[in-house]
Symmetry: C2
């Protein structure tokens, strides 16, 4: 199983359209597993060595087309992959969560051993918490609103500073069903990532119900850390 | 459906043993839905009025035996019930999470409208975060360890103060599989609740895997708020 995030089924189908669904002894298919998409490679046959060889060729072929979206294989999860990378690079992470309300921290701490790289964070659900616990300035909040790139950046920088972590990751958005506006509809989410040297931010739009928007926001935030540590560009936002 | 927390199947069976599984037109049964236990009352018949009457009698009978453990009925959830009570009493809540890593906040914010009573919190996974963001004293940590009643109390008081909330709720424990000791085995969890006037704390022991221990810890913490707001005693700990 190859697990993908940030690409939808039609796009996967298009990019893999010239690959045969069945090639030699390998059958491949893909199916959505919200908010992920999974590509499965099934083997048939008995010759272990030649099967492994065929599998390698097919996986390489798939990776050459959608590799940037593949975050994990087999039983691995986004939070597990991010954790392994942080551990390997000896970096610590902190999170500042608004609309996800603790989900990013919850996912990270589902991984045994996460205390080795995850220091904790702040659930800054209200503006008071954003100012008081993260040092987001009132002026930034007044000028841009809580759901904005500048606030996402100040949240990421604030939690990084407050927890003395190498990385600060932030999420601020509108999970819905209430709270949306014409300018900032339900599903609008800004991600921030601060490394000390640089701070990044980006805007996305999700189209699900409350819990789906929370999950997509948390996955996108973790994917930012994965892509940052890989040196890959972040997924394009709005 | 009557949803119970904090009582196991054998205890439910014992307390309801003299009730007939089928009484008149009502069939009752119960089944576990980790970490909850559900009692289902199924109706058969057509006379709406008499059925409703029978149902009331049966429900009253059940409530007289296990009522303190019933936190919700039907589609309602623990986090939904706690939210409704907070809204009704015009009280705000903040959370300080160690071993749950954000799960309490995540559950609370799955409820639409939770921004009306949930201000946010701190994920204090490491001791640095407990001291820096929550004001837990180094002396308390050194004397009692991070997983202790005194630290749970200081965490609850710290987050309440920091977020200017009416209530501060805290969880600190050992989710496992690593980190346990003879004195504090995996599954040991301390809950704290600070109201300004008073601060409570209590120790529990859960027996599941990491994610199960996290879920039980979060449920127990939310149940403390529910019981506190009801004026009911907390579930007895260790």
């Amino acid at each position: 199983v190859l697990k993908l995030y940030g690409i939808n089924e039609p796009s996967i189908a298009e990019k893999l359209s010239d690959l045969p669904g069945k090639s030699g002894n390998i059958i491949f298919g893909f199916y959505p597993r919200f908010p992920e998409n999974h590509i499965t490679l099934s083997l048939r046959g008995e010759d272990q060595t030649s099967l492994t060889g065929e599998l390698d060729v097919m996986e390489r072929e798939i990776r050459s087309r959608v590799g940037a979206f593949i975050f994990a294989t087999g039983d691995h999860t986004m939070e597990g992959v991010v954790g392994e990378m942080l551990l390997q690079k000896k970096l610590t992470l902190s999170v500042a969560e608004s609309c996800t309300g603790g989900l990013v921290g919850n996912l990270l701490t589902n991984v045994s051993g996460s205390s080795g790289y995850f220091l904790g964070g702040v659930i800054a659900y209200g503006n008071e918490a954003k100012m008081g616990l993260l040092g987001v300035s009132k002026q930034t909040l007044d000028t841009h609103g809580a759901v904005s790139d500048p606030v996402a950046e100040e949240m990421a920088e604030g939690v990084r500073r407050g927890l003395k972590a190498d990385l600060g990751l932030s999420v601020t958005g509108i999970a819905g069903p209430d709270g949306g506006s014409d300018e900032k509809p339900v599903g609008t989410v800004h991600i921030g990532l601060a490394s000390g040297d640089e701070t990044f931010s980006g805007k996305y739009r999700f189209w699900g119900k409350r819990e789906q928007n929370k999950l997509n926001s948390a996955m996108m935030a973790l994917d930012w850390v994965r892509r940052y540590l890989h040196g890959n560009p972040f997924l394009p936002g709005l």
